[in-house]
């Protein structure tokens, strides 16, 4: 799937001016609240008609203001999962699910009711009313309802934002299954690093209505200049790795990445499984000599590639570890005390690692079956 967006639109005092092309099946629109993420997908869905521009999905022109093309929302065949579910209160779960399906031309219905119900684990909810569902259940039904309209593209507007951590973990695997099993193109709006890292191939960073960056998660998350937009506190580098071995005695798993071996608490994944790990800048310390007598397990050697130029007490450093970018957040005083700068050899001491299955691993696994 390719999604081409080039639009300009004014909403009161806010100007949306976004141009990007995403060739991947899962595109994330990332940015702080108020950056224009929801407005942008509302334009794609046909809920907002842009002042100028074009939207093309796989060669099909949905909007072209110059040629006067504006496909009405009910003919776009774009599924939309809203932040708050928006289930119809007067219909049972079963009829909510069937709603969009009924409006889909018979020849274009690819989603089967039973398969979707099964995929989302909502078979037990079918005869309930929406107000009797929990937040997580409601969101799964909302996803099912959008899917059963057999959309060509699925828009998800922070579908997990209203859920607690446990419920998020409940829904995320289902979204991965949409991406990997149904191969459904998805545009996913989020401001959460963990979700985006776990799900996405192409990341579009929005700021103040404009596209600040487009690229792979690894590329974009590794850019120091985007730190203010991606959120300093959660910001960090994303590394692609593989399961290289398990250390049964100490309950550890060894991951192999371009930057070197990483030890993490044991995960039950077969050898060779690709995983994507996220290492937050605030979890990385720097040392000029390989430290000894330290509890941290993961110490990787490399060079400083770039230091952010900040006035405040904090400096972000981009490291080059054998070609792999890693970010560290240190004080300006430390930079001065250690006497480091671009090119200095350093050791990165990693305090903690967040990781998730990587999309490619699941895809190739299902392809082999």
């Amino acid at each position: 799937m390719t999604l081409e967006v080039a639009i300009r639109h004014r909403l009161g005092g806010f100007a949306l001016d976004a141009t990007f092309v995403s060739p991947d099946s899962l595109t994330a629109l990332f940015g702080r609240s108020g950056a224009g993420k929801t407005s942008l997908i509302n334009v794609i869905a046909g809920l907002i008609r842009p002042d100028f521009g074009r939207i093309v999905i796989d060669g099909q022109v949905l909007v072209d203001t110059e040629r006067g093309v504006d496909v009405p929302r009910h003919r776009r065949r774009i599924g939309y999962v809203f932040q708050e579910g928006r289930l119809f209160p007067h219909l049972s779960v079963r009829h909510n699910l069937g709603y969009g399906r009924w409006f889909t031309p018979v020849g274009e219905r690819y989603a089967s009711f039973d398969a979707v119900v099964d995929l989302l684990g909502i078979a037990g909810l079918l005869d309930r009313r929406p107000h009797l569902l929990s937040g997580g259940e409601r969101q799964r039904v909302a996803i099912g309802r959008a899917l059963l309209a057999s959309p060509k593209l699925l828009l998800m507007d922070e579908p997990l934002a209203s859920l607690d951590e446990g419920r998020k973990q409940e829904i995320l695997p289902y979204i991965e299954r949409l991406r990997d099993e149904l191969k459904l193109p998805i545009v996913y709006v989020s401001h959460a690093h963990a979700e985006v890292t776990r799900l996405t191939a192409t990341l579009v960073v929005l700021s103040d209505g404009k596209v600040a960056a487009v690229g792979s998660v690894g590329e974009v998350m590794g850019r120091l200049d985007l730190f203010p937009l991606t959120g300093r506190y959660e910001a960090g580098a994303v590394l692609e790795a593989r399961v290289a071995g398990h250390d049964g005695a100490f309950g550890l798993t060894i991951l192999d990445s371009a930057a070197g071996a990483l030890r993490v608490p044991k995960v039950d994944l077969p050898l060779g499984t690709p995983v994507r790990v996220r290492i937050r800048a605030r979890d990385v310390m720097l040392a000029t000599k390989r430290p000894e007598g330290l509890s941290a397990l993961n110490v990787l050697g490399g060079r400083i590639a770039e230091l952010s130029r900040a006035e405040g007490p904090i400096v972000e450093a981009r490291l080059d570890l054998n070609g792999q970018a890693l970010l560290a957040r240190i004080t300006r005083k430390s930079v001065s005390d250690l006497g480091i700068g671009p090119g200095s050899p350093v050791f990165a001491v990693i305090k903690s690692i967040a990781f998730d299955h990587r999309s490619l691993g699941l895809q190739s696994a299902s392809a082999e079956e």
Partner: protein, 231 residues
């Protein structure tokens, strides 16, 4: 059981027929005007609002007299309808129904308009993204959600029609069997010597019909509410 005279029975039957006709005739127009007022911005909206609510504040006699001027045999609208379509309101039961419809109209519009304004429009947007044409969205989402308001509006109009007196008697007079509805019949009975027992009988009938109508509406409203209660 109470024994009714043929005149009393015809008054009861007439009242029910007039109220029912007024309610049913008001519904589509009331729904359309309620939608217009709740959803569309247009020039002269306040004027329309005032016009719709006028019968609520005008003395019913005035409303009846205006109807007589407009829809009477010599009135501009009345003459036109009679000559071209053969519809006559003056001194017919249909005229009584028209008077009741006009008097009940503001109540119908108010009830429906309020329920339309309560509808979460984001649900309609969601229906649109699921492939529903705007007309289908209205039929499958908006309409079911405003059903309680529609039922409430119909009950109010029906009740208003049962009790309508001033506009009816002014517009279509007091003709037994044709325009003499329950309130008019009761009024007439109280004006003649020895009419009190009959007036009391019809009063009890009035009360009974109203109680049954209200109970029915309560029942329907509760069933609908159970079905449509939002999150």
């Amino acid at each position: 059981m109470i024994d009714f005279t043929p005149d009393e029975l015809s008054a009861i039957r007439l009242s029910l027929r007039v109220a029912l006709a007024a309610t049913i005739a008001t519904l589509p127009i009331g729904l359309a005007v309620a939608l217009l007022l709740a959803r569309v911005e247009f020039w002269g909206k306040s004027l329309l609002t005032v016009l719709v609510h006028l019968p609520l504040v005008l003395p019913p006699v005035v409303t009846g007299y205006v109807l007589l001027l407009l829809f009477g045999r010599q009135g501009p609208i009345g003459a036109f309808l009679a000559d071209h379509l053969g519809i006559v309101f003056a001194f017919r039961w249909t005229g009584a129904a028209l008077a009741c419809a006009v008097m009940g109209f503001p109540l119908m519009v108010r009830a429906i308009r309020l329920s339309i304004e309560m509808v979460d429009r984001r649900l309609e947007t969601a229906a649109g993204t699921l492939g529903a044409h705007p007309l289908w969205v209205f039929a499958t989402v908006t309409l079911p959600l405003i059903l309680p308001g529609i039922v409430a509006g119909m009950i109010l109009t029906f009740a208003k029609a049962l009790g309508e007196f001033g506009a009816t008697i002014t517009f279509v007079s007091n003709i037994p069997g044709e325009t003499q509805t329950l309130p008019v019949a009761i009024y007439t009975l109280t004006q003649i010597p020895g009419g009190d027992p009959a007036a009391l009988r019809l009063t009890l009938v009035s009360v009974a019909i109203s109680v049954v109508a209200l109970l029915a509406s309560e029942l329907v409203a509760r069933r609908i509410l159970n079905r449509t209660v939002a999150l």
